[in-house]
Assembly symmetry: C2
Homo-oligomer: 320 residues x 2
């Protein structure tokens, strides 16, 4: 096994070596811009590491790893149009830098390119790789639709929220893990088990994201804190507070926009009263435990086991 940063380097190199056509530049420039966003590249790293953990060289899964990263970046691009987000990782989003038509069309081209990459050197595994990849994609669209549906609802339950983030965020981490195992020709049960590892990791990851958006350090987190609160975003924190805050203070604050700083402070203090920061971390730990249990059922070399265990523990405690 390699270090995280070594896999990251392989991914970065592969992305810079992608030979996208030059013309029409209105189609391909936004794709290059989107792919050069940096980021943790967690999904392709998981795919490469999984492939190596199950006995094949990491490079065996490189095209499939990049396909998943391409797909992930496509979803961010289209989500930004849908959410009218203006900034992504400190840079203007594609529909701001170019325009909306460009963002839609180059996103479509990224999705097709992802499907093309998936098939490269996939061999006999192609039908199964396509099923895993496209099935995951459908889950992600469903998750995004639920997320948008939740905006106009006030009765979203915690169970519905967890199902939404499972679909929208977690299954793609599961897919990356399963794809790496598939490319290593691991048995089907192993692929499924490792898919589950990724899903549980993803749930923990998203809950930590919810936590950081409200409680993170703006300097390390890299974006301003409290965005979810200001947008009345139905996160685990807000849903729990809406359920448990009997004073009606939370509901009365929804939709208010006149004093952002006070709103963040007031909502956060209700979260604190309900002990939500502590409770969300217990939940995160529970998902990490489940993820690690998935590892225990697999015959992994100690080195591989600790790679994935470290990764899981780090995502639960990350501050950016």
């Amino acid at each position: 096994m390699k270090e995280y940063n070594e896999y990251l380097q392989i991914v970065t190199d592969a992305i810079s070596n992608l030979r996208l056509p030059g013309h029409p530049s209105g189609l391909y420039d936004p794709i290059r811009y989107t792919l050069n966003c940096g980021g943790k590249r967690l999904r392709p790293v998981l795919a490469l590491a999984a492939c190596e953990a199950f006995g094949k060289e990491a490079m065996t899964a490189i095209h499939q790893a990049i396909a998943i990263e391409m797909f992930h970046n496509f979803t961010l691009l289209h989500d930004d149009v849908m959410d009218k987000a203006e900034v992504r990782r400190g840079r203007p989003t594609v529909h701001v830098k170019w325009n909306e038509e460009t963002a839609i069309l180059s996103g479509d081209a990224m999705l097709t390119t992802a499907n093309m990459l998936l098939a490269v050197k996939c061999g006999e595994r192609l039908p199964q790789a396509l099923e895993l990849f496209n099935g995951t994609a459908m889950n992600i669209y469903e998750g995004q639709q639920y997320d948008m549906d939740f905006e106009s609802r006030t009765d979203v339950t915690v169970e519905e929220y967890m199902e939404m983030i499972r679909l929208k965020t977690s299954v793609l981490l599961g897919c990356a893990c399963g794809m790496g195992a598939l490319m290593a020709d691991a048995p089907f049960e192993t692929q499924v088990r490792f898919f589950d590892f990724g899903v549980n990791l993803g749930l923990a990851f998203q809950l930590q994201d919810d936590y950081l958006d409200t409680y993170g350090d703006p300097e390390t987190f890299g974006k301003s804190i409290g965005g979810d609160i200001l947008n009345d975003k139905k996160t685990w924190l807000l849903i729990m507070a809406m359920n448990e805050d009997k004073s009606g203070r939370i509901k009365s604050m929804l939709g208010t926009t006149d004093d952002p700083e006070s709103k963040i402070k007031a909502v956060r203090s209700i979260y604190d009263e309900l002990d939500l920061p502590q409770r969300i971390h217990e939940l995160i730990s529970a998902y990490i435990d489940t993820a690690i249990k998935c590892l225990d059922h697999l015959e992994l070399a100690p080195e591989a086991r600790s790679f994935f265990m470290d990764l899981a523990l780090k995502s639960a405690t990350r501050n950016k």
Copy 2:
């Protein structure tokens, strides 16, 4: 070989038998709505007929035929968002009936579903089917990008225009033909030749569309006439007129919107002076001839040959 309407019936049945999930309805209802648009279903009919012409049952290619139709409808859905079109085949477009986010997301889901359908019962042909399908998809995005680029340009040449419609419209007809031949396990050269038949048919088809938008009978054509003229759309007719009209009248009319009826009449009379209706029909006939020559190089049963020849001749003379 069957009649066009028999293939059409197979396609219609297969589309109504697609089992899309019920929830989230915000994602799947717009897909059902888009697929129930009616239309000629030319692409899937071509795929089924090609498969039968090259010796396999039409049903061998049914999933691939529906994949192509699904893809085609996805491009219409996203194009309508990009073009801000409000009506499609007499009904409100998805982004009007629902909203733009819904139109983007359900389009994405249609593209992924098309990729899934393509793989069903594809067998050993899967890598090649994916390459044909996804390569065609990339061409179509490039064509759409050129089409959008042309809006802000006044120096578009006829060659550039023909290349744009080849990419945006014609290759998908080629893809349908090639896919049918592939699913029938026809030799690669046959697939390529039949792809070319479809491309030439597609070029003729698009030029006839340009002609009908300006010269069609609104009753039979099913939409109002002159839309291209009012939008200063760079069609073959307008580009030729801009090249050849030395009086400067055409250029002076671009961008005017005050009197739609007079603009249509005035532009049309310049087209008439330059003999463009006659000349576009000569060009259409030339593409149909090329398409028919592609058929001559193939070993087709007389019945199959006349099916495709009829189809080609009818598209050159269709009035809707």
